[in-house]
Amino acid sequence: MIEIMDVHKSFGPLEVLKGINLTVEKGEVVSVIGGSGSGKSTLLTCINGLEPINSGRILVDGVEVHAKSTDLNKLRRKIGIVFQQFNAFPHLTVLENVTLAPRKVLRMSKAEAEEIAVTQLTHVGLADKLAVYPGRLSGGQQQRMSIARALAMSPAYMLFDEVTSALDPQLVGEVLDTLKLLADDGMTMICVTHEMTFARDVSDRVAFFHKGILAEIAPPDQFFTAPQHPEAQAFLSNVR
């Protein structure tokens, strides 16, 4: 369970999160939508401790992320994150990209790590690209590789930060299909996304962010048919 309690976060004078409260249960898929600059992506990087917070608490399975005593490297093993920008390790093959963390962080043997990597890469449809360097992959393939790389750590939670935003339109589908597969497998996911169809079809709840505030959160049926918050209404009429 991820518990976000009254989290405030500023970059210099700019307050990007203004007291966020959100609880994500095990097995739940929450889509986070909202305009740019609304703090959606920042929230994700706060959840796995890549960004410090100014006040409030974030608990992952009861462990406080920003407590000084928390071993972030250990905590991050169970929180996978995939970013909007491609971030493959360009000097490693696809297989090596995926085996790096299991081998160095979980201290698996090469054979063990490769077995897991091949399983995950097959899962995302890259079984034929094991020996290829990321520079030769399409954007969609790179994003799927990043997903497999995160999954190889057997995380309990997956955070997706606009993973399709940098992709050509024809490549978006293949990545969303991968996310759907994951959701069907029961993975707990928080997806920051601009894909309304995805948010509607896959998520259990949709969270609408506006200017650093969680303005509305509701099941997708309710949110997309009858949004309560005026900003949510305006946002939906714009994206439709």
Binding site: T45, L50, N73, G80, F89, P90, H91, K104, G135, A150
Partner: protein, 217 residues
């Protein structure tokens, strides 16, 4: 025109000088690279204000002519009673000089690694050290290599200045032969050719590595 008084023994004498040039260059580049790595990581990772003294000292090493550094260092070590042989003094000064340039190469190469790639590495649970070792350094190496090869070749040529501390390296050997044989053109041609033969493999090695890495992109 092709008559020369230069003998095989003279050529061996030049080779000995070349050996000295290689030795000084080797220690300067090894020492300078090790220090440059350390300082470069510090410069790239720490607050610029915190490392201002280091930056200043390195700027001094980059700005003051190497010849002055060599002569002053030699004078100071003798005043301080360190009794360092000229070879050691030369290697130390050249290593510091090299490190000042190498620091900037390393810092630039580390800065060239996209922050999102490093975030991805850390988000997988890699520690700072593992991120550095398995992600940042291999990626930075590809950026740094051409400049580092250039630095190494530059240091090899700059190392000729150690002749002012009395070391008989390649250029000094050539001068000695010129004085004795009075054939400056021919001897300088030979000396230049030896410098080229020493530099060429290093330059080629760099080219080969770059080509191999490029094939992966």
């Amino acid at each position: 025109m092709f008559d020369t008084a230069m003998t095989l023994n003279d050529l061996l004498f030049l080779m000995k000088g070349a050996g000295m040039t290689l030795a000084v260059t080797f220690f300067a580049v090894i020492g300078g690279t090790a220090l440059g790595l350390l300082f470069g990581v510090i410069r790239a990772q720490l607050n610029p204000w915190a490392v201002l003294p280091l930056t200043f000292v390195l700027d001094v090493f980059r700005s003051v002519p190497l010849l002055i550094q060599l002569v002053l260092a030699n004078a100071f070590q003798s005043i301080a009673g360190l009794q360092l042989p000229p070879f050691a003094t030369s290697c130390i000064v050249l290593a510091l000089y090299t490190s000042a340039y190498c620091t900037e190469i390393v810092r630039g190469a580390i800065d060239a690694v996209p922050s999102v790639t490093r975030r991805a590495a850390r988000s997988l649970g890699l520690t700072w050290g593992q991120d550095m070792r398995f992600v940042v350094f291999p990626m930075a190496l590809r950026v740094a290599l051409p400049s580092w090869i250039g630095l190494t070749l530059g240091v090899m040529k700059d190392s000729a200045l150690v002749l002012w501390l009395g070391l008989i390296e390649l250029l000094r050997s050539g001068q000695i032969l010129v004085t004795r044989l009075q054939e400056p053109m021919f001897i300088l041609l030979v000396v230049g050719a030896i410098y080229f033969l020493m530099s060429f493999p290093i330059a080629r090695l760099g080219g080969q590595l770059e080509k191999r890495w490029r094939e992966n992109d």
